[in-house]
């Protein structure tokens, strides 16, 4: 590539055009990375397309993890949904499937995410509000009632209590007569990013990671098609990080899970192929595409060379993408439709395996049926009308995209060195390193917006004075009452002795190095609640203080 271009021609062009007047907003990415006027073969100094780029479906997978990508199979269109009682969410799931959605994605309410039962005083006002309330195995049964779990892949977004919810899911699948071998889906189960960004942690970092790895190990042995973790940059980005931080911290989390699984004596190829990822799709189209491509290359290189993985599946970074919630605005909310469409385009050009497109009303409330349908239709237009699916990795070889991809790889490695300097993942968490880095980036971004160095349509430019409000989804106050009475009834009806026995057994196992999953599945069957199980584990593991560091 480099040989066919006269180096001086490119330099000459830059000399001639360097003084061109620039617009008021500097040409930087959304992460404030300066962008050159033009990218040429010179930008890719030393780049070898044979080895650095390769081919789709081949190491190092810059061009995608599958050879034929969307020509063979489109990404899974998976809208995150959940609110109210399990029955209400079950109805929303069936509605989404009837509109052509191809996988389910479950949002739990805050009490469930924090491991509290619906009748806990701290749950007051939060039950069923941001997602569905799940307290017992019976709630899990109702949630997926009438949906064939052997056919529809299911994703569950839950972290601190993930092992418990996974136990409910597995017990319920068995009750429905579905073989665990057939189950396809994902549980987020990524507690490291909770410490960096999302703040839904319960236990200290080390026992939190032990739980993550218990699920990874158990699924590797018994639920082979399941993704036992979705290593997530999404929330890191939402908390205000820039693109490189999202990339670097997410992969560092992934490597930490690999390290801990290896310490247990697992063979890297027995589990690495099922580690999955979850990235943000933010506004800056090319920066995002470069981020996904860099992630694939970095993961492949590290798994192959550092961890000695031999299976191709272990090298492949598969990822879900969600458009950036934090980019949506409450001013002129219909404009969010356009933001989401461009972000979805970036995710698809970057080679995602599944995609959630946000609804236009999500800065106001959970999405209405109308808004969520438009969000899904956005993906369908992208898939069937725009033609971007016709060829594999259409941007591969772009001077600009390849340069950005390489830059991001280098910057991510620099971050990994800094984490090492802090003593590794857990000491870096305890030192507040990730949180501080992210908060700094969030502050820089907001200052840029306030100074109009970055323009946001409808917010600091092109404002409207007379806006029509959108119709938004309202969650009735009766949801909390209904869920609390159901929970109380179920606790009354169960065999109390059996429930206590299983809770004690969970505590016993937690104090050993045994895998907790069998004990949790038995406890799920004995109708132990999420709150009871989380507390039982906390008796052994302790709780992590969400100390305010800023």
């Amino acid at each position: 590539m480099a040989t066919i271009t006269d180096r001086s021609a490119s330099e000459r062009w830059h000399d001639e055009n360097r003084k061109a007047p620039l617009r008021e907003q500097p040409p930087t990415t959304v992460s404030s990375v300066p962008i050159d006027a033009l990218y040429t073969p010179d930008s890719l100094n030393g780049f070898d397309p044979e080895t650095d780029l390769g081919f789709p479906g081949q190491y190092p997978f810059a061009r995608g993890v599958h050879a034929s990508m969307y020509r063979s199979r489109l990404w899974t269109m998976r809208q995150f949904a959940g609110f109210g009682t399990p029955r209400q969410t079950n109805e929303r799931f069936k509605f989404l499937l009837s509109k052509g959605q191809t996988g389910l994605s479950t949002a739990f309410d805050l009490p469930t995410l924090m491991g509290l039962d619906s009748d806990d005083p701290r749950s007051l006002g939060e039950v069923g509000r941001l997602g569905v309330a799940v307290d017992t195995l019976d709630d899990m049964q109702e949630l997926y009632d009438g949906i064939d779990l052997a056919k529809v892949s299911v994703s569950m977004t839950i972290n601190a209590p993930a092992a418990i919810v996974m136990a409910y899911f597995l017990a319920n699948a068995q009750d429905q007569g579905v073989d665990w071998q057939e189950l396809r889906g994902t549980i987020q189960n990524d507690t490291l990013k909770e410490f960096h960004a999302q703040n839904e942690f319960v236990y200290p970092p080390e026992p939190s990671v032990r739980l993550v790895c218990d699920v990874i190990e158990f699924c590797a042995q018994q639920v082979p098609q399941w993704n036992p973790v979705s290593i997530s940059g999404y929330h890191i980005r939402e908390a205000g990080s820039n693109a490189v931080q999202e990339l670097a911290f997410t992969l560092a989390d992934g490597f930490h899970y690999v390290d801990v699984c290896l310490e247990r004596g697992l063979d890297v190829d027995s589990f690495a192929g099922r580690l999955s990822f979850f990235f943000n799709a933010h506004n800056d189209v090319f920066e995002e595409i470069a981020k996904y491509r860099a992630a694939r290359v970095l993961w492949a290189e590290t798994l192959r060379h550092k961890y000695g993985a031999r299976k191709e599946a272990s090298w492949k970074l598969r990822f879900h993408a969600q458009t950036a919630g934090c980019s949506l605005q409450d001013k002129q909310p219909q404009v969010n439709l356009m933001r989401v469409a461009y972000q979805a385009l970036a995710a698809v050009l970057g080679g995602c395996q599944s995609l959630h497109t946000n609804s236009m009303d999500e800065t106001l409330a959970l999405p209405s049926e109308h808004a969520v349908t438009l969000a899904l239709r956005t993906q369908q237009v992208l898939a069937y009308e725009t033609g971007v699916t016709n060829t594999v990795d259409p941007l591969g070889g772009s001077y600009f995209v390849e340069t950005l991809t390489r830059q991001m790889q280098e910057q991510a490695r620099t971050y990994w060195e800094r984490i090492e300097e802090k003593g590794g993942m857990v000491p870096a968490i305890e030192a507040g390193f990730f949180r501080r880095e992210i908060a700094d980036a969030a502050f820089v971004y907001q200052r840029d917006v306030d100074a109009k160095r970055k323009l946001i349509v409808g917010v600091n430019a092109f404002q409207e004075t007379d806006e029509q409000p959108l119709e938004i989804l309202q969650i009735g106050a009766d949801v909390e009452q209904e869920q609390v009475s159901r929970l109380r009834l179920r606790k009354q009806q169960r065999d109390q002795e059996a429930a206590q026995r299983e809770l004690n057994n969970v505590k016993r196992v937690a104090a050993t190095k045994e895998n907790l999953m069998p004990a949790l599945i038995a406890a799920a069957r004995a109708r132990c609640t999420v709150g009871e199980l989380v507390n039982a584990l906390a008796d052994v593991f302790g709780r992590y203080d969400g100390a305010a560091k800023w």
């Binding site: 805050l110 009490p111 995410l113 924090m114 509290l116 701290r122 749950s123 007051l124 006002g125 939060e126 509000r129 941001l130 909770e194 999302q198 703040n199 839904e200 939402e238 908390a239 205000g240 934090c326 605005q329 409450d330 001013k331 800065t363 106001l364 409330a365 959970l366 908060a439 969030a442 502050f443 907001q446 200052r447 917006v449 306030d450 946001i456 917010v459 600091n460 409000p469 938004i472 969650i475 969400g546 100390a547 305010a548 800023w550």
Partner: protein
């Protein structure tokens, strides 16, 4: 504008279970940079704990952040507890995702101002620097 020589004291807190703290931390930094004394109480605060902190810190202002939709349960509770503790003079600000209809209700209950997503930081700083009469006028 302001005649106060002592910096204003503001307690900022996340109430309820919601962990979205990007906004409150950005606001905390902006207020601190503007010369205010900021006490960030942190995550998962109960209304009772928040009111205790306001009293202990002798704060002029309390800023609550919620993006969870629980504001109509938790904010009125904080207001009630503030009054009960003789802290009715403390100005209460709310930030986060609050639907238009609820903003009116919260203001009526005594919240001084609700700041939604995308509020420029200088707008919050300016609001706090205004003399009280102008703010309520």
């Amino acid at each position: 504008m302001t005649t106060a020589t002592v910096p204003q004291r503001i307690v900022l807190a996340k109430i309820g279970l919601d962990g979205h703290d990007r906004g409150i931390k950005v606001v905390a930094r902006a207020l601190r940079d503007a010369g205010m004394h900021v006490i960030y109480a942190g995550l998962w605060q109960t209304p009772e704990a928040v009111v205790r902190t306001v009293g202990d810190e002798d704060a002029d202002w309390l800023g609550l952040s919620l993006l969870s939709g629980a504001h109509m349960t938790l904010v009125p509770r904080v207001l009630e507890l503030l009054r009960a503790a003789g802290l009715g003079h403390v100005g209460v600000l709310v930030g986060g995702i609050i639907p238009e209809a609820d903003i009116a209700k919260l203001t009526e209950m005594g919240v001084a101002r609700v700041f939604g997503p995308g509020t420029p930081l200088p707008e919050i700083v300016d609001f706090l620097r205004q003399p009280r009469e102008a703010r309520h006028g």
